[in-house]
């Protein structure tokens, strides 16, 4: 009786906020591409003020590391530093085309928004990006489709040369073993330095030459590139 009176007065005073209620969520991610891999995923629950990236703005050094080389450590540190909750590398490695990682449990605590990133391989600086999606408070299953973005930090030369460090040109690797070599490079002088929707890769059908080391029959994609299913408990 006393407790309900207290609740009632809290409600009346507007002090009882939904955002302070902890929620258990279960996340699954499916790679929807034809033949691209995702590097280790960063799944992060955070407050509405946090973002892993902003479209139309320049990438942070932490985002650049992830987008060019798949390194999520700095982004994870930033989220944890802002009292967020993360799951790092739930697939324990690369997530191949057609593959899913299921049942990633997150106790979101006070965090109300969800972000997910991973680099798309083989690309220069493409990443899958779910940006600060508001986690529903009502229990249920929700499906979100995720697009590929270009970090805007590296020219899309489509040359596979092992370059995965920030600022180093080139693509680290084609994990499917289906990349080419000796490409002359896809160069058109464009320099959009802001995070933007990725234009997709060009590729060609010449594994031993041509402009690109990517295969146009394997490595192209259209959005969306990932399916995220969130179950709110």
């Amino acid at each position: 009786m006393k407790r309900s009176l207290v609740n009632a007065s809290l409600l009346a005073a507007g002090l009882f906020s939904l955002s302070t209620q902890a929620a258990d969520i279960e996340v699954s991610v499916t790679n929807l591409t034809h033949g691209n891999h995702f590097t280790p995923l960063l799944i992060a629950a955070h407050t509405r003020d946090s973002h892993l990236f902003h479209v139309g703005e320049m990438a942070t050094p932490a985002l650049q590391k992830m987008a060019e080389g798949g390194d999520i450590a700095d982004l994870n540190t930033a989220v944890i530093g802002a009292n967020g909750i993360t799951s790092t590398n739930p697939a324990m490695g690369l997530l191949a085309a057609g593959a899913s990682i299921n049942d990633v449990m997150l106790d979101t605590g006070d965090n109300t928004h969800l972000s997910i990133v991973a680099m798309v391989l083989p690309t220069n600086d493409a990443f899958i990006g779910l940006d600060s999606w508001k986690i529903p408070t009502e229990a249920g299953t929700y499906t979100v489709y995720v697009n590929a973005y270009d970090a805007g930090t590296e020219a899309n030369d489509e040359i596979i040369n092992g370059g995965g460090m920030s600022g180093v040109p080139g693509i680290p690797v084609a994990p499917g073993g289906n990349g080419g070599a000796n490409g002359t490079g896809v160069m058109d002088g464009a320099d959009n330095m802001y995070v933007h929707t990725h234009p997709g890769v060009l590729g060609d059908t010449d594994p031993m030459g041509g402009a690109s080391d990517l295969d146009s029959r394997i490595h192209r994609w259209l959005n969306p590139v990932a399916k995220v299913v969130v179950t709110v408990k």
Partner: protein
Amino acid sequence: MKTTDIKLKTSLLGLFVATTLLSGCGNDDDDVVVAPAPPVVVMQTFTVTVTNLTANQPMSPMILAAHSAEASLWQAGEKASVAIEKMAEGGDTADIAALAVIESSVNGTGMLMPGMSETLTLTLAQADVANISLATMLVNTNDAFTGINSYHIAEMEVDRPQMMKYMAYDAGTEANSEAKGTMPGPADGGEGFHAARDDVDFVHIHPGVITMYDGLADSVLMPSHRFDNPVIAVTITRTE
């Protein structure tokens, strides 16, 4: 055993009631036997209007199907069923209509041309209303398809349309060679369903077509056959 007992009792009770009713009638002079009123079946009608948003990809005659909430026609990342393969490679929806999970289905009247719209109508007993799916092939491709994958319509109110757009999937059952003789649409006039599977063998988002103009030497496709998502716009309305 117990179930049987109960059934027996019920039928005995029914017999008893019937006898009482008959004898009741027998006492009257008229011979009219009043049949028990059949339970009233409330029907719900749904219209699904589909617009082809592509530049130059006619879509094969659509199938609109009603099924339970648990059923789905395909799952991204999983192998396509043979029924989906036949639809995605050749536009043939007969196997989808025959699936055990499908309660009822209707087909489009013909090809849905780019820019055109068609409205399909499903009337279902209220008790059977759960989910619907729709499927159609992009015919100037090897095995691209689009549609609605298990959309919940049970709580829809009358005349409150739901609008959405959907993307193109790749059935993953036939390599996207774009080569002469491999695609059934007007760009090629080639083969439809082919039982052999020579691609990644899982359903995924279609990567798009390359065309002869973009470096795929054997392709018979032209730039206008390219597409981007979404490829269809859909309006679902419950009309009664």
